[in-house]
Symmetry: none
Subunit: 223 residues, 2 copies
């Protein structure tokens, strides 16, 4: 006998979840809440028997993951899984970081949703494979010869300086690291700004990020 609770402010959605669970986990009880406050009250009341809370992000009284944080704070022993429309990879990771035992996108097909719930109730974590799998490179790399060419207009030394710039280093720090005078660094920085067509180091750093300086450096070092 397992007891679940769904916290979501959309009655229709709660109803849908209830139907799925009734069909797929017949030996279970489902509690409902339409706000974080109510969920907390109910959770405390059924503390001993509650096996899992399915928490929606976007409850009226819970600011996204902040609601999860508060919940974890108040009831650290309660397993909480996120059930959300949000599918951002960072959000998923942060939820797990905050102690969620699973993350189920609302777009999950009914059968997968049940499988996920079962995994979680067995003590495993569940994360959405299609979201988490192969995400971070995220470089479809449309143009093999991108030639955004602004980066190619920089000399080696300037690239070195720009790289350091990208770590938030000051001119003085760059000078130390590269073993040259600060005035020389300034010379390089000025040249970089001119060649990149920007007017401040912050803009240069942002542009370096957009043009994927790291990849450019990796590529040119690899050859």
């Amino acid at each position: 006998m397992t007891t679940l609770m769904v916290a979501d402010d959309h009655p229709l959605f709660r109803e849908a979840i209830a139907a799925v669970i009734a069909a797929g986990l017949p030996d279970s009880t489902l509690l409902e809440a339409d706000s974080l406050a109510q969920a907390m009250r109910e959770a405390r009341r059924h503390e001993a028997s509650l096996d899992l809370l399915l928490l929606d992000l976007g409850l009226p009284d819970a600011a996204g993951l902040d609601g999860l944080a508060r919940l974890r704070d108040a009831l650290p022993a309660l397993p909480v899984a996120i059930l959300s429309a949000e599918q951002d990879r960072r959000t998923v990771l942060e939820a797990i970081d905050l102690g969620a035992v699973g993350y189920i996108p609302k777009s999950t097909p009914r059968d997968d949703l049940l499988a996920a719930l079962e995994r979680i109730l067995e003590g495993h974590l569940y994360l959405p494979p299609q979201v988490m799998r192969r995400p971070p490179p995220a470089r479809p790399d449309s143009s093999p010869a991108p030639l955004d060419d602004r980066l190619t207009r920089l000399t080696d030394k300037q690239l070195e300086v720009l790289e350091a710039l990208g770590h938030g280093a000051s001119n003085k720090g760059i000078a130390r690291k590269l073993g040259i005078a600060e005035t020389t660094v300034k010379t390089h920085v000025s040249a970089i700004l001119r060649r990149l067509g920007v007017t401040s180091r912050v803009q240069a750093v942002l542009l370096a990020g957009e043009l994927d300086l790291a990849a450019y450096l990796a590529a040119r070092r690899g050859r």
Copy 2:
């Protein structure tokens, strides 16, 4: 027919893994490597057929997660799972963050290890339940700080300023855009630097990027 590779510098351990896989996944081939460099070479050679690389942390030529990062960089399409004695929760999360498709502690019982491999080969993520479950109890106060809440420590106005900062705007430009005095902008910027724990606007901008300020703003506006 699946092809796996195990990268570990302990021959005995490789042998043990080979035995487990031979018994549990009879329809598979296992490649071996005793260094990151060799693993990369082998992986490139068998690029088309290799289904999963089991990577040990602590290879002689790869310092912990850095090896994973380099591997992901060089071969983004290759699924990599970590197989390590290390069981620190943060390490696990960072590995997943870097794109690992699973994390298997070396202490995992043989049967669970096989089950984990099967899950991973099916396209799911695997994380060690006993490590990840109920982990962050030390949340209420403690000091070392998870430090992802740094954005939440900023006031609305500060977030506005930080957003503008992220576009490379100068204090003067921000003042114009927000319709306040430049001195006020400076006040905000100073407060932002202090609360984010950085010492220059460039670092603040970089940190805002890492913490995904845009997503945070979108999330909080959406509610």
